[in-house]
């Protein structure tokens, strides 16, 4: 369950899960396979790299039973992801979409020259 104090906004959603952003705690929540996990910004991108690095071809070719699943245990989370090939592909799709939206948000912010309310913004005077 996502923290009730969290102020979260949807980043990206698929049929298999969703990624939310909590702007109060500056973290991302991953809702996937019946569980939710909070990630710090850098941890989230590291987790994506780990999921992207899973060798799907090797999982398919290897006929041993242990090759049907891969285990990813991200640091600083209580969760252990046990993923079959379908789950890896679904998670990849979700994380890739989320990453795109996060980067798009950065670009949009940059284009709009949005500054946070609390940041210093020089006053302009009209003569």
């Amino acid at each position: 369950m996502i923290c009730p104090l969290a102020h979260f906004e949807e980043v990206y959603k698929t049929d298999h899960g969703a990624v939310y952003q909590c702007s109060r705690q500056n973290c991302y929540w991953l809702d996937f396979a019946g569980g939710t996990t909070a990630f710090k910004v850098s941890d989230f991108f590291n987790f994506k790299k780990k999921v992207d690095a899973v060798d799907i071809s090797a999982m398919i070719i290897d006929s041993s039973r242990t090759a049907d699943f891969t285990i990813i245990m991200p640091f600083r989370t209580p969760r252990c992801f046990v993923l079959d090939i379908n789950a890896v592909l679904n998670l990849r799709e979700l994380l890739a979409g989320a990453k795109f939206m996060i980067e798009l948000n950065s670009v949009v912010n940059e284009c709009l020259n949005v500054t946070p309310d609390r940041a210093f913004r020089p006053q302009t005077t009209n003569h």
């Binding site: 906004e9 980043v11 952003q21 702007s23 500056n26 973290c27 991302y28 910004v41 850098s42 991108f45 590291n46 996060i102 980067e103 948000n105 950065s106 912010n109 940059e110 949005v114 946070p116």
Partner: protein, 174 residues
């Protein structure tokens, strides 16, 4: 929506990746020069052994400069894994030829970083690597000058001893 990504890091993902690759290149250079120092020492080229030991230290300093920059800008610098460092070299001249090749490769890598910085408009990193680009002029000059000594002095007789003695005197005045 609040921009968490930029709050965490000012480095573009591609720039962070290419800088981490360069950290590895610098660490690799440092290890190769240390191996060359050891080989020169073993062969009795004392001055060259000192020269390469200093070069190795310098490359490590370069690596740390890049390393700290990545971390300071909010990125994650990765401590590189260094493998395939040779323990033996073909000849005294060959060692310096390899040094020049290594420096030319490093220059090429920094040119690629500069190109990437321009493409993504990261002028802060572009400014940062100017120091390295200038440094490369000296590195290549020194390696070329030393190689030229092999032709000027010649390797016959006490030639290699003479060359070794002159190695510390090669410097770039800029």
């Amino acid at each position: 929506m609040k921009d968490l990504l930029r709050l965490k890091t000012s480095l573009n993902e591609e720039i962070e990746k290419i800088l981490n690759e360069q950290i590895k290149v610098e660490a690799h250079s440092s290890s190769i020069y240390l191996a060359m120092s050891s080989w020169c020492d073993d062969q009795g080229y004392d001055f060259s052994a000192d020269f390469f030991a200093k070069q190795s230290e310098e490359e490590r300093t370069h690596m740390l400069k890049l390393f700290n920059y990545v971390n300071d800008r909010g990125g994650r610098a990765i401590s590189p894994e260094i493998v395939n460092i040779p323990a033996d070299f073909e000849s005294f001249r060959g060692v310096f030829e390899q040094m020049l090749e290594q420096e030319m490769y490093v220059t090429q890598q920094f040119n690629n970083i500069a190109d990437k910085c321009m493409k993504v408009k990261d002028f802060v990193t572009f400014q940062f690597i100017q120091w390295f680009l200038e440094e490369q002029i000296e590195e290549e000059y020194v390696a070329r000058r030393i190689l030229e000594m092999f032709d000027v002095i010649g390797e016959e007789g006490t030639g290699r001893w003479e060359i070794d003695k002159h190695i510390p005197k090669v410097s770039y005045e800029g």
